[in-house]
Amino acid sequence: MTAGGDTAEGRPETAAPAAIELRGISKAFGPVQANKDIDLRVPKGSIHGIIGENGAGKSTLMSILYGFYKPDAGEILVNGQPLTIADSQSAIRAGIGMVFQHFKLVQNFTVLENVILGVEDGRLLRPSLAKARGVLKQLAAEYGLNVDPDETIEELSVGHQQRVEILKALYRQADILILDEPTGVLTPAEADHLFRILRGLKAEGKTIILITHKLREIMEITDNVSVMRRGEMVASVRTAETSAEQLAELMVGRKVLLNVAKAPARPGAPVLEVRELKMVDDEGVERLRGIGFDIRAGEILGIAGVSGNGQTQLLEILGGYPEKGSTLSGAIRLNGRDLPLSGGGCNAAERRRQGIGHIPEDRQVEGLIMDFTAWENVAFGYHHAPEYNRGWLMDNAAIRDDAEGKMERFDVRPRDAALAARNFSGGNQQKIVVAREIERNPDLLLIGQPTRGVDIGAIEFIHKRIVELRDAGKAVLLVSVELDEIMSLADRILVMFDGRIMGERLPHQATTGDLGCLMAGVDPATTAPEDAIPPAHKHVEELPGESA
């Protein structure tokens, strides 16, 4: 068996021995080649970033490493030893731990029970629990991973749940820790705390693989970075020797157009006025804490923020379907008329009649019925429209004709209206939704994450259509977690944090750092930052001493 170091091909990181080395890994799901001939070398005791767009194959690669999938071809070496990772058990035995994007925790179990699950000592629980309690205390002291071992998971904040996942891996004596998009659900402050933990782990000699699509994190914490694009590993470089711009270019495969070509906005009268909008969900958590803004005709208002800070609720409320069991207060006015916040008049069909279009955040669950044909989906939400109906029955021929026209104009491929929605690619699915909503010519278009999981070509197309709608004098509300998208499309930017609006910026004045602070709940303009941090509640982590 050759040691990992001998075969490395003169990459920048050959100095240290490799904790993990992948050679020629390939994996296909049916016709989709998720991983193509991947080589990767992760030196021991380093933090290695893997970056790439959604669908670039990062998660598949890591799932292979954790024994979830068997690669079609290729070799895995752990600490220089070739290894077949048939299942998660063998990955754990090889010292690999994984923190998934969606936590794999049992909600009604305690922290302790979650930690020992699968690695109990013996058939009885009591000794295992006692041992784990001791180990957890030690780990907490060592790495600052404080969690109450007897708390049930459902009572913990997201940040703490993530710590439990890390503790689980460490309890299994993982030397190699893989984190899949760990900051997606965290506030910037929580993310910083996580990074401190990761640095501590690195100092103890652990190897960390960080999968993300956020350049800022890569630049901040990693030693080396590998870039994936469409299933291939396109580059591996030292972080210190690269730049965010260079990585971005590698990621998408060409210069990123940071600015969409558009004329300055010529805003008209206010179309949407939101005043003091508050929302408390069915568990009593205040999701919106008094939101107010206007959108005028002919302007795109962007809402930036880490996901989970109330944007989804805002879109749902404006779209007419607030979460079940929630209570609302405040006012929404469309073209000067009050819209009901509850009761019979508050539903998505009514909102559409009033002239509100909506491209939802999740097209696969909300925007489309995946088993319906493309033409049936073109009528989705507008199935009561007179042109789609003839008396008691729906006019399927008319819907079909309309669908074919829309698919033509929006270049949806394959151009087969009888095909079920699930058989289109992400970008083409989104085009069907966008075509349906934009061609209704709404006074106000709500857009959530318009380009999530959409290929570059479709992104440009969709952005162009949004700007066209604006230029036609319509109001657009754009919610996106992609700061770049907000900066290049929006005419004004609001930043949401913890159910409130932290501040407003104009895109040409705003910097990423400035917006990042707002997204973290810190207003750089005020001198006493702790005032800006809202009182802690169930879903926001308390970080003693960090806000000062």
């Binding site: 998660s59 998660s88 058990q89 990955a91 969606h102 925790l105 699950l117 013996g122 058939r123 629980l125």
Partner: protein, 321 residues
């Protein structure tokens, strides 16, 4: 109503609740592991038939018991194949199993015994004898405690005692052992178990095997303990009452004991007083028979203490990408 009558009704309740309790605990294991089982009825029926047939043929209630467990387990395996291996609809599979048992028992029974689906009556060692606990005869005349001990506690078949012992045992297994921890975890979030390197499939098969075993005991008790032989459709909805009790008990072992006792008591009262005269109103037996179902609907409606089933229940586990 005098004391002796109360004892008699309670004694009858204990006998009638035993199959319910066993089936209810059977369902508890299965559903706690995330596999819904509305096929308890069919498994019990099949077990009752195989137990009675083998007990008749061999003259041994114990061999009958083994056959009963085997019959029930065979149907459990079918349920496992469809709901675990082939990730089918667990509810539909349960429905199919109920019909399969209902048809096969009569079909085979008619062929073997030619009695229109009945088995011949069991006598002697073909049935489980009633066990007289020590000092039962001696204590009989002691007031209050005597009848309770001699009539209520003593004098049941072995399977009654097994059923009652299963309650603390199930509690202990579920909450004090590694297997129990994993079983509960797989019913709440199978991905947590899978990523911990434990096989979801194996755990769920283990759970439905236990479910089959307990349903087998329940069926065998019906045919060789409570009655003397198998009669067509002899479970008479008990599997569904057990299911109701499981929901009523919110999937907890001790509560299952309480729920099945309540339902057994209702049946005992309905048997003794076909028209229960309460002075103001007369309650027909039909109402008493329907009461378990009505109570379950009320519980399900969530007006009195909401029943929340295991989170991953009913969903076949598919690894996400």
């Amino acid at each position: 109503m005098d004391f002796a009558t109360v004892i008699q009704i309670l004694d009858s309740a204990v006998r009638l609740m035993t199959p319910l309790l066993l089936a209810c605990l059977a369902g508890l294991y299965s559903e706690r592991s995330g596999v819904f089982d509305i096929g308890l009825e069919g498994k019990m029926l099949m077990a009752a038939f195989t137990a009675a047939s083998v007990a008749y043929a061999t003259g041994s209630a114990w061999l009958g018991l083994i056959a009963g467990v085997a019959g029930s387990m065979a149907l459990s395996l079918v349920h496992g194949l469809s709901s675990i291996t082939f990730r089918g609809n667990q509810l539909i599979s349960g429905v199919a199993i109920n019909f399969l048992a209902s048809g096969l028992t009569v079909l085979l029974g008619q062929k073997i015994f030619g009695l229109g689906g009945r088995t011949p009556s069991l006598t002697g060692a073909g049935r489980f004898p009633e066990i007289q606990l020590p000092f039962a005869a001696a204590l009989r005349d002691v007031p209050v405690i005597g009848p309770i001990y001699a009539e209520l506690i003593s004098g049941h078949t072995i399977l009654v005692y097994v059923a009652f012992l299963m309650v603390p045992l199930t509690w202990w297994v579920l909450f004090r052992t590694r297997f129990g921890l994993r079983l509960r975890a797989v019913g709440e979030n199978p991905a947590s178990v899978d990523t911990a390197g434990v096989s979801v499939t194996r755990l769920r098969y283990a759970a439905i095997a236990i479910c089959g075993l307990l349903c087998g005991l329940a069926g065998a008790y019906l045919a060789t303990g409570l009655s003397a032989g198998f009669v067509k459709e002899m479970t008479a909805g008990r599997g569904f009452i057990a299911l109701a009790a499981l929901i009523f008990a919110k999937w907890r072992p001790w509560s299952a004991l309480g729920a099945t006792f309540l339902f057994g008591l209702l049946e005992a009262i309905a048997n003794r007083y076909p028209n229960l005269d309460l002075g103001i109103v007369t309650i027909p037996s039909m109402f008493m028979n329907a009461l378990p179902y009505i109570l379950t609907v009320i519980i399900l409606a969530g007006f009195v203490g909401r029943a929340i089933p295991p989170r991953a229940g009913g969903e076949p586990y598919v690894k996400e990408r």
